[in-house]
Symmetry: C2
Subunit: 303 residues, 2 copies
């Protein structure tokens, strides 16, 4: 709060995050369809507001700040990525998928609003993500809008998250190799986390080498996130997670823990963290403190 | 077929359509995820290829041609709109929605591939629509990409198709006024049909007056389409429709026929056709033959 020098000795992730989380929550509350008809808006808001760690929005904002990106574009990109994440959770929890009852510490959306409304709310959240990225007027230049849509569509679709979920579906009860498991998670979870970083970077100007290094950072962080998720599914309880613990084993899904065991999974997560931080160093960007701290937080979190 | 006034005496909708349908089918076959993993690509292709009248793509191409739009952009927009339409049918047919068994003359996607894969395929088709609109490279200028995404996202989301479906859900067993029924259909079916026209126009340059008139044409045509759909649900059989006939009454859904009766519904469709053609005349565009013929076809079709 007092005098700060170049290296800002009192920089902290929690202070950095708190300010940005307020902006994200305010924006989501304003943008998530308060006027959608026939209960749809309430369902969409239930799925998005008052919950979640907002890791993806924070990654978008951290990457955008590292490259001097346009704040208006970054805030929209941050919220758009979160909407895609939220819709994927809603559809994942449906009876025909994981049939889950608890999400972000609350009953899942289909329990609260019915299956049909949950299906529609997920669909509408995906559309809203692209709506947020394409505002009329000149607050966000249209070429930036187009690039953000391109990155998000690829990360969400068959070559990203949806493709990973299809592999996940097909893998129940199967034994996957390490490569197959990594591929599934690179698509299912990693693609959207990586897109959070590349979309943040697309809000500003970055040279090819730094852009590629940021993409490597995002890929390593995305995979590390899933390895830690698999560990926590075994070691944490539902109250801490805010979602059902132990469900991978209950659903007979292959995980890093089932493949590598707990200790080697933890070591793998640390190795991926080093990979992410090496990539970050290779960007040669001036201020990557938030990206650095977020990667450490992802790997060392307990929920 | 014989002598007709001014230009091109032998112009016919069927010849005009045949050529464009070939281009659309080829493009869809190429673009709809042949390499998506774990059966997802097959499910997506089942939902999209070999079926459907392709009314929306034809509207996009007709509007684009009327304004001298960029062919590359128009073909992508045509396919993107069709993907949104196809995904909406897949999700609409799911057990938690209409629980339907027949679509485009084939078993519905969830019967053929399972509910979970149908859910994912629908989700992936929506993402793919935005992916098609945002190609890397300079075949489509990025400002055009952004405008196409903007129009499609709004038409598909809570203020368009998804919102209309939420009203539809809430209206089962209810008696709606004419205004309420029109609002539901303007969102549920009309928004995407109107977007087909406005997206086609966004592939070229059009002045404000012509753009507004094209939007009015699209709105009237979109509503006319649904009025005729309600009539055909009563008067046609499933084999002709390629989907289950009589399902509105079976599902106790309010329709134009239940509200107005058959004859007044038919008259309403004709009035909307006149409204569409008047708007088209007001565009003052040089060649609107295809848009004119498509509107007539929509209202006078028998399936």
């Amino acid at each position: 709060m007092s005098a700060v020098a170049t290296a800002a000795p009192d920089w902290s992730l929690s202070a950095w995050s708190a300010e940005r989380l307020r902006a994200v929550e305010d924006a989501l509350s304003q943008w998530v369809a308060p006027d959608a008809p026939a209960g749809l808006g309430e369902a969409m808001r239930y799925a998005v507001l008052d919950g979640g760690k907002r890791l993806r929005p924070l990654l978008v904002l951290a990457a955008a700040e590292a490259v001097g990106g346009l704040p208006q574009a970054a805030l929209r990109a941050a919220c758009a990525v979160e909407l895609i994440h939220a819709y994927s959770l809603v559809h994942d929890d449906l009876p025909c998928m994981d049939n889950d009852v608890l999400r972000r510490g609350k009953p899942t959306l289909h329990l609260a609003f019915g299956e049909a409304q949950a299906l529609l709310a997920g669909d509408a959240l995906q559309a809203l993500a692209f709506e947020l990225l394409t505002p009329a007027g000149d607050a966000v230049p249209e070429p930036v809008q187009a690039r953000l849509c391109r990155l998000l569509a690829r990360a969400a679709g068959h070559a990203g998250m949806a493709g990973g979920q299809a592999i996940d579906l097909a893998s129940v009860g199967q034994t996957l190799s390490h490569d197959e498991l990594s591929r599934m998670h690179r698509l299912k979870t990693g693609a959207l986390l990586q897109a959070s970083v590349t979309m943040g970077a697309a809000c500003g100007h970055v040279d090819g080498q730094a852009g590629a290094a940021l993409a490597r950072y995002g890929a390593a962080l995305g995979l590390a996130f899933q390895v830690v998720d698999d560990v926590l599914d075994v070691t944490a309880d539902s109250a801490t997670l805010g979602k059902t613990a132990g469900k991978d084993a209950a659903n007979d899904k292959p995980t890093y823990v089932s493949l590598l065991g707990l200790e080697r999974s933890r070591a793998h997560a640390q190795a991926l963290l080093r990979e992410a931080l090496d990539a970050l160093a290779a960007t040669a960007l001036a201020d990557t403190r938030a990206l650095h701290a977020l990667a450490s937080m992802v790997v060392n979190r307990d929920n």
